[in-house]
């Protein structure tokens, strides 16, 4: 009886540990960080303690909210444009196989070039306004979407395609009723990558020249050795990415409801 109780307790603990293990790791790291920075008295400009960062995050709220809002809008705008353009291009390439044959290898090749290196050029051409920033984010979001979507279309089950054709489906029906829904999981994996890229793209585009945004806040903090603020910025970038990710995950769950990962 007693043993059973212990066993129950143990398995319960195990469940908690398994489920929350990553949270526990993060908390442990934060504790070690906190203690070591106090014990070794590391200067605040080199590595601020987590409590210092939290303090700045709470008290400095007014100094950075407008940066935060600006970056959020910028990433969302760039993300929406990038995903739309990416989807559009993928659909066009899919429906025009001749064009796809010519363009697809170039797309794959261009994926190996970090798009960010084009940023200085865009600044030269379009200045420091919103436009070059949106172009950068659009570019970084665009490729994962196009490649994932085209892959999704290409993997359409030949059996299902065969059935639909025998049933007399038109090209449009094939696309709407078979190829597009079939590609949705692949599209979502592209969208997830694009979401995190969009935040990164926004921050980097702000580094190159802007008057507000988390990127600007970071550059200012860095040049005045406000390391705590740099960490606050990093924290918010992470939170922003996670929120985007969570929204897309929820959307995916709703849209792909009832679907198995295999075909049946």
């Amino acid at each position: 009886m007693f043993q059973l109780l212990i066993q129950n307790r143990l398995s319960f603990m195990k469940k908690i540990v398994r489920h929350y293990s990553s949270v526990i790791v993060i908390i442990a790291i934060l504790f070690i960080w906190q203690w070591s920075s106090k014990l070794l008295s590391i200067p605040k400009w080199l590595l601020p303690a987590p409590t210092d960062i939290l303090n700045e995050a709470v008290n400095g709220w007014n100094t950075y909210t407008h940066h935060l809002v600006s970056t959020t809008y910028l990433s969302i705008g760039g993300f929406v444009i990038g995903v739309s353009v990416g989807l559009l291009v993928a659909v066009i390439l899919h429906l025009l196989p001749i064009v796809r044959q010519a363009v697809y290898p170039l797309l794959i090749l261009s994926q190996n070039i970090p798009i960010i290196v084009l940023a200085p050029l865009l600044v030269i051409w379009f200045g420091f306004g919103v436009l070059p920033k949106l172009i950068i984010i659009t570019l970084v979001c665009f490729f994962p979407i196009v490649v994932a979507t085209l892959d999704g279309f290409r993997q359409t089950s030949p059996e299902l395609l065969h059935y639909m054709q025998m049933a007399g489906a038109t090209k449009g029906q094939l696309f709407r009723k078979l190829e597009f829904p079939h590609a949705l999981p692949a599209i979502f994996s592209g969208v997830k990558i694009a979401a995190t890229y969009s935040v990164m793209g926004a921050v980097i585009s702000e580094w190159l020249g802007a008057n507000k945004g988390i990127g600007v806040y970071m550059t200012l903090a860095q040049s005045s050795f406000r390391t705590d603020r740099v960490f606050v910025a990093i924290g918010f970038i992470m939170v922003l990415c996670l929120i985007f990710f969570a929204i897309i995950l929820t959307l995916e769950k709703v849209l792909l409801k009832g679907r198995m990962h295999t075909n049946g």
Partner: protein, 246 residues
């Protein structure tokens, strides 16, 4: 209406002749089975009827109208059920009619109920057994507006028990609707139990070597399997198959 006439159908792949001058007719409301060895070209014949392939020679007419090379003229169930995994059972069975235009969900629900699938309208294909998936595929074929159905070995992937159950189920549903069916199998008993007529296909290049009209009355049930008459027919067909294979 659903009368299919195949005239002089010939098809080669890469100069290898697969089908050689096939002539046959499936009359309105008739259940005709094509019995032939594996690889003889049965699926190819369906792809020709369905317009996925163009015959080298010959024509198909449905109700006196030529349909050679035209898609969507017949309703078809491939060797695998081919249900869309992201659609529920109800949404899957209306697919054929959706492609052709009108969807009647009430009729679909009614049919699912009759097919013993009530309660599964909102289930997804992966939640069903293999036999149930085949039923769904067949209900989809019945609900399609075309009045001619082609079934390509629908039960070949099922175990013996499920297969018997499905054959009986198919007969029951079909006897109510009487759409013309062209059925393909390489199982002699299945052919005898289900059909009005059996066409026997030879080995490569395939041509129709024999035709049998079966005398068994409808509605049929599984007792038929054990009658002397059935066994005699089975022997005859078996010998016919053996004869043209050797």
């Amino acid at each position: 209406m659903g009368e299919l006439v195949a005239t002089n159908i010939t098809k080669s792949f890469d100069s290898k002749k697969i089908l050689d001058r096939l002539f046959f007719t499936v009359k309105e409301g008739e259940f005709v089975t094509i019995l032939g060895p594996s690889g003889s070209g049965k699926s190819t014949l369906f792809h020709l009827i369905g317009g996925m392939l163009q015959p080298d020679d010959g024509t198909f007419t449905l109700n006196q109208e030529e349909i050679t090379g035209r898609r969507g003229a017949i309703s078809y169930t491939p060797q695998s059920p081919s249900l869309l995994p992201w659609r529920t059972v109800l949404k899957n069975v209306v697919l054929g009619s959706e492609i052709k235009g009108e969807v009647d969900f009430n009729q679909a629900k009614h049919m699912l109920e009759k097919a013993g699938l009530s309660g599964y309208e909102d289930a997804y294909p992966h939640q069903l057994s293999g036999g149930m998936r085949q039923r769904v595929a067949f209900v989809r074929a019945l609900l399609s507006p075309q009045d001619f159905i082609c079934l390509d070995e629908p039960f070949s992937a099922l175990d013996e028990f499920t297969r018997l159950e499905m054959q009986q189920w198919l007969l029951k549903i079909w006897e109510e609707h009487r759409k013309s069916i062209l059925f393909v199998t390489h199982n002699i008993e299945e052919a005898l139990y289900l059909s009005d007529r059996i066409l026997i296909l030879s080995k490569k290049p395939a041509t129709i070597v024999e035709e049998y009209t079966l005398p068994f009355a409808r509605p049929r049930d599984q007792d038929l399997f054990l009658t002397d008459e059935f066994l005699q027919w089975k022997r005859e067909i078996y010998q016919a198959l053996q004869g043209n294979l050797n």
